[in-house]
Structures are given as structure tokens and as C-alpha cells.
Amino acid sequence: MDLDVAQRLFGQASPNILLSSILTGMAARPMTGQAFYVLTALADGPRHGYGIVGEVAELSQGRVKLKIGSLYGVLDRLAAEGLIEPDREEAHDGRLRRYYRLTQDGRRALAEEAELRAATARVVRARLRLTGEQAAG
């Protein structure tokens, strides 16, 4: 590497740069897969933390195994967004289990997300059928 290349690489000679930073607002977030499973686990009634972990594993046929840290990251966020809320606390083997339930907003958000996913699944199935027929033909 010669001096000229070094100067261009490290830029003391050439003034470069940015304009004023264009700072923009936030866009709405899509629902994550984990949040979808957690809301689904609460759809038929309140559950405590470990109960949700078990239900999510069953719903996903063992493909989603939530760790406790991940679960509470999701629960905290869903509670902050008003989609779930504490239901009750029960003592079990000397430990206090807190149960969570869906709010009305949570129920609505889950229903709409399920509809969105079902519509996507219908498109996928239709396209796969189409390409399957083409491949067979």
C-alpha cells in the first residue's frame, strides 16, 4: 500500500460527510412469532409463566421452546402494550404463581393476526399447488 492509497483510505485529505441527520418517527411493529404463540396460549383462559411455556411447546409441536428470559421479555412487552394483564396469584409449593389473561385489545389483535396468517397460508397453499401441478405437468 503506498502513501496515496493510505491517504485516500484514511481520509485526512478529502473532506467527506453527512448532512443533517434526518430523524424520523417510529413505524408500527409487526407481531413476532413468540408473541403470537403466547397470545394463543392465553386464548382459552389464564395461564401462569411455566404454563405458557408448556402450552407454546404443545401448540408449536415442540418447535418453539421458550426460555424463561425470552418468555418474560414477551410478557413484559405484551403487558406494556395492553394486550395481556395479570389475572390472579396462587400459591404453589411455597411459590407464588402469577396468572395472565388476554385483554380485549389482545383478543382483537390475536384474531386479526390469526386472520392475516391464515390468509398468507391460503396463498402459500394455492401457489404450491400451482407449482406442483406445473412440475407434474
Partner: protein, 347 residues
């Protein structure tokens, strides 16, 4: 009485911020113990002695801790910092992308790759530099790709590409240092640390739950930034006023100062929503530009005039940042909650 298993898990939970533990620790401990204990006292006693949180469990808590410290959604004070860091990273990557556009424009012009362009002045014609030139151009293109992918919300792709993009710079720096051809003692190193490495590390703030920025304005900022920054600089050069051209760190100070001045009226009126987050971002950028200016002062120790100019640039950026700093401080205590899911909003 807490068991050994519980104590081990609580130790891991210390990674989480205090305010979060206050709210969730008991619940997390209960869920964790539920996942291990069987209800049989003998078996549970044995499990409590030998078992502990798995690496995956520790990783999940560590991941949650990073997200909370860097502003995961629903974390009021931290949210402001996470938001500001993400915008500051995008701004620094915008700098990289604008620099890269300049490199490519220069390449096209100096090598006369487009026939109808006027011939470049002899001083700008550079002979091909071999392998390093190729790496230099490839890295430049990569920075543009990183900026665009990050603005479009492809966080993981951007992180991987950025981690790769900083390596050639480090190798080239080491080689230049060892062969004694580094143009200045500290400037190139601090450029690599502040403008290359720091944003790559700060890209951890673009975690899975980070709300995406609206990509349109950021993508528009790339051509606009190039024209608005390089236009005046080229005009200065073309009119024989090259002596007025600031160096890179000086230019950073000037541009951040201009951005602060442009934002100051809104920040001081406190009427528009979200001004505090912008102010916090600008204060972060001013801190980076100021630090860069301070370190590069050492490049001019033999030139009192340039030292004075550099100190003036430093003062300007500090004064400009002071205009928006009160609004930035306010952002940390009054950050609006992140928006709910789109479905809930529509309902």
C-alpha cells in the same frame, strides 16, 4: 427458604436492570423453578443441589438484559436511549454511505469510465493502486448496502456485513502503522474506532424487537446528503478556495452543529411530538463529533492556525448541542410509549 437452584438463577437475573427485577423477578424465579422441580421432596432436593440454569437460559436472560438496557419496547427511560442510539447509528452509516458514493463518483470520473464526462484535472487522476484499491471500492459499496439494508429493517444482514466491512480498514491501518506510512498518528485510528467500529458495536441496539425506522426519508437522505454536502465543497474547491475546506472531523462538527441549529426552534418550543428523541440523537452525534475533533487536534500540533480553527469547531459543536440538550434530558423522563401492534391500533 431459597434453594441452591433458586440462588443460582437469581444470580443470573442480576444481569437485568433493577427496575425490571423489581417487577418481574419473583415471577421469573417461580416459572424457572416450575420448569425444574417435580413436587417430590427427595428428587427436588437433589435437583436443587446439582441443577442450574442452562447456557440457553442464561443467554435468554442476557439477551433480555441487552434489550432492556438498550431500550426494548416498554422500557420508558431506556427506550429513549435505544431509539437515540439506533438513529445515531443510522446517521453514522449515512456518513459512510455518502463517503462511499463520493468514492464511486470519483472512481468513475478519474478513470474516465463514462465517456461524456469532462476530463478530470491532472491532479485528480490516480493510477490504479492494485489489490488495496479493489478492497477499498468493495468496502465502499458494502457500506452503501449496509446503510440501505439497515434502513429497510434487515438488521441481521446489516450487522453481518458491517462486521465484515470494518476488517479491511483495521488490516490496512495495522499495515500502514507498521510500515510507517500512516498520514497522522491518531486521526486514522480514531476514525476507525468512532466511525467504523463503534457503530458496528452499537448495532446491537437493532434487536429483534426494535421498531423499524421509516425507510423513505433515510434512503432519500443518501442522494440529498451527497448533493448538499459535496456541492458546496466542490464549489469551494472549483473557485480556488480550498483553504476553507474543513478536514473530516471539522466537517462532522459543522454538520452536526447545523442539524442542532435547525432542530433547536422545535426543541425549545416543546410543542412537536418526539422532539426530545431527536434532540437526544443529536447530542449523541455531537458527542461523537466532539470526541473525534479533540483527538484529531493532535494531528496539528505544529500548526497553531489549524489548532485554533479546530478549537473553534469544537466550541461551535458544544454550543449547538447545548441548545438541544435540555430537550434531550426531557426525552429521558417523558418518552412516549412505543406504538401498539397495528391491529390493535386499527381496531
Amino acid at each position: 427458604m431459597s434453594s441452591d437452584l433458586e440462588r443460582r438463577y437469581r444470580r443470573v437475573l442480576r444481569l437485568l436492570p433493577g427496575w425490571y427485577r423489581q417487577q418481574w423477578e419473583q415471577d421469573m424465579v417461580a416459572a424457572f423453578l416450575d420448569s425444574w422441580l417435580t413436587g417430590d421432596p427427595a428428587a427436588d432436593e437433589y435437583i436443587s443441589k446439582v441443577a442450574g440454569p442452562s447456557w440457553a437460559e442464561v443467554a435468554s436472560v442476557a439477551g433480555l438484559a441487552v434489550r432492556l438496557h438498550l431500550g426494548g419496547p416498554g422500557t420508558p427511560r431506556r427506550y429513549a436511549w435505544g431509539h437515540a442510539i439506533r438513529r445515531a447509528v443510522l446517521a453514522v452509516l449515512l456518513v459512510h454511505a455518502v463517503l462511499a458514493v463520493d468514492v464511486l463518483v470519483f472512481l468513475v470520473w478519474s478513470r474516465r469510465l463514462v465517456g461524456w464526462l469532462p476530463a478530470p484535472p491532472a491532479s485528480l487522476v490516480v493510477a490504479p493502486g492494485g489489490g488495496w484499491d479493489t478492497v477499498y471500492y468493495l468496502v465502499s459499496v458494502t457500506w452503501i448496502v449496509i446503510f440501505v439494508t439497515l434502513a429497510l429493517g434487515h438488521y441481521r444482514t446489516a450487522r453481518v456485513l458491517a462486521a465484515l466491512a470494518v476488517v479491511p480498514g483495521l488490516v490496512a491501518l495495522l499495515q500502514a502503522q507498521l510500515t510507517g506510512i500512516l498520514p497522522a498518528p491518531f486521526g486514522p485510528w480514531i476514525f476507525w474506532v468512532l466511525v467504523d467500529l463503534a457503530p458496528v458495536l452499537a448495532m446491537t441496539a437493532f434487536h429483534r424487537d426494535a421498531p423499524p425506522a421509516a425507510p423513505g426519508p433515510w434512503l432519500l437522505a443518501l442522494p440529498a446528503g451527497y448533493v448538499l454536502v459535496y456541492g458546496p465543497l466542490m464549489a469551494l474547491q472549483a473557485t480556488g478556495n480550498s483553504a476553507w475546506l474543513p478536514d473530516f472531523s471539522g466537517l462532522c462538527c459543522i454538520l452536526v452543529s447545523l442539524a442542532c441549529l435547525a432542530h433547536a426552534p422545535r426543541a425549545r418550543s416543546r410543542q412537536a411530538a418526539g422532539t426530545g428523541l431527536r434532540s437526544l440523537t443529536l447530542v449523541l452525534l455531537a458527542a461523537v463529533a466532539g470526541a473525534y475533533r479533540i483527538v484529531t487536534l493532535t494531528d496539528y500540533l505544529n500548526d497553531p492556525h489549524l489548532i485554533n480553527v479546530s478549537l473553534a469547531e469544537l466550541l461551535i459543536v458544544v454550543a449547538a448541542a447545548a441548545l438541544v440538550a435540555p430537550d434531550a434530558a426531557r426525552a429521558q423522563t417523558a418518552t412516549p410509549a412505543p406504538p401498539p401492534y397495528p391491529h390493535a391500533m386499527a381496531a
